[in-house]
């Protein structure tokens, strides 16, 4: 009887383990890994800059299987922070067995969560990702310095947000997985390239903005394309 119970437990464990998806985020600028405050990078406009803060929300993760069926993984909002390794590793434990060909998620926070009162956890306003004077979440924040910037202390400061039409900054992203993967313990490396985020930005002309509007929408259009699947690993 005891052995049966043990076997049963092992089976359950095995089963639970098999349903795990891990998403690891990696931040780069043109292939160079991001190190806060230290490394100097260059944007397409030729401005040298460094990064002191890079954080953003990802939410509404789902996978699409080979038959086109969408499997929702979680509606949770994750706050990803460069420099905080734990925040860059996401786990989903409710992945049903199947063959998956793409992953989808949202950059930003659902409109509804922007206007339904005080939130908790990653959406707690103490995280500094909430605008108080013009309610709504900052979907993505990039801060640093650049000699090209005319702002005080040569800072660069991009706080991208806005959830109301016409200035909405949430973006949906779908990335194909190069080979269809079976569920198992699936590990996925997502790369976010800040060079793409800063496409079309010259720090000499604009070293930051912190309101919803056309400028923020353009950056949001950029971050829609900054993510790519680095590699995945199917055990």
């Amino acid at each position: 009887m005891r052995y049966w119970l043990l076997l049963f437990c092992l089976f359950i464990l095995q089963w639970a383990d098999a349903q795990l998806l891990k998403v690891c985020l990696q931040h780069t600028v043109n292939g160079q890994p991001v190190v806060l405050g230290k490394t100097n990078y260059q944007n397409a406009a030729g401005d040298t800059f460094n990064i002191t803060k890079f954080q953003y929300y990802l939410s509404n993760f789902s996978l699409t299987d080979s038959s086109g069926k969408i499997v929702k993984l979680s509606s949770e909002c994750f706050l990803i922070k460069e420099g905080d390794e734990a925040s860059k590793k996401l786990s989903f434990t409710n992945l049903p067995a199947g063959q998956y060909k793409s992953i989808s998620f949202m950059v930003g926070v659902d409109s509804l969560l922007n206007c339904t009162g005080a939130q908790n956890g990653s959406l707690d306003p103490i995280n500094g990702m909430f605008w108080t004077w013009n309610s709504g979440y900052i979907m993505m924040k990039l801060e640093g310095t650049s000699p090209s910037s005319h702002l005080p202390e040569h800072m660069i400061q991009f706080h991208i947000g806005g959830y109301r039409a016409p200035h909405m900054t949430q973006r949906w992203i779908t990335l194909p997985l190069s080979v269809p993967v079976k569920s198992g313990q699936l590990i996925l490396r997502l790369n976010a390239d800040i060079a793409i985020l800063l496409n079309g930005i010259s720090f000499r002309q604009s070293a930051g903005f912190m309101t919803p509007g056309t400028a923020a929408d353009k950056i949001a259009d950029n971050y829609q394309h900054m993510f790519s699947v680095g590699w995945h690993n199917n055990n």
Binding site: C115, N120, D124, T132, W133, S135, G136, H167
Partner: protein, 346 residues
Amino acid sequence: MINKAIYLLFAFCLWLLIIGKAGKPGPEYYTLKLPDSLPKPVYDFSKNPLTKEGIALGRYLFYDPKLSKDSSVSCGFCHQQFAAFGHFDHALSHGIMGRVTSRSVPTLFNLIWQKDFMWDGGVNHLEVQPISPITNEDEMGMDLKELITRLQGNKTYKRMFKEAFGTEEVTSQRMLKALSQFMATMISFESRYDSVMRHEPGVTFTAEEQGGYKTFQQKCASCHKEPFFTDFSMRNNGLPYLPSMNDIGRMKITNNTADYLKFKVPSLRNILVSSPYMHDGRFFDIFQVFAMYDHGQEKGNTIDPLLKNGIPLSEKEQRQLYMFLNTLTDKKFINNKDLKEIMIED
């Protein structure tokens, strides 16, 4: 014998269980008494049901100067009950270390019907509204994270959060929900005007008040709509732009030039106890407001269509209007003991 002992032990355990349960009751639910004629509140109470303990915590927070950086300014410092929770005699609100903002303190009542907050409507929910004055450098100047840490270290708050929410944990969400519960109880529908409308025995308008009510209905009621005496919209009422203040109003929020100089239509309830008037508090006397509508407007591109010809008000109309506005003062509300300031001792 052993059986008897077991029964006794069992009974004793049961008794302990019952006593234990009775010893820690959950929070006690509280029902707002609202007149039946009112529309359904905008505020969703299902996500934050009112409880006596929640309201008590909200009131404590509202009057606690520890919510400001140097523990000098509470919410109630600017929102004074006798002024319908506006700031008596102050054109512009002021905060820690003598700092001054660019707008006047809005009155607080009937907030559960309000969709957006502040003079420019920039804040979209009652629960997140307090974050603005708490963190604004010119008001309470407090970092939200630091504030939560400060409250977590306080014995009274540990006890009160437990009573209201079941555990001692202090989070910004709980703090904001408690503040909202208290603010939700700021209800003002007990003015003489309300008694007249409800045909309460022996309560009538005087001839002057009745005349004023007629003028109000003809000339003011389309924006200051009954029963709230506001339609909660944003409008440019023709108040001259002050270059020294450079306040562009709603446009600051929407970046839309069509919103230039638009501000929230304030309620006229309790208006005579909550001077000064306008978003920058430039008028200390209601007759200055009448005069502005009569002949003092600045008619720019975004002036409200309803106001582009001004509001001609004769001397008699102005006097009667004043008499009518006087019936909108809710003495029960401004003297309500449950809303009164409390002493914070630690």
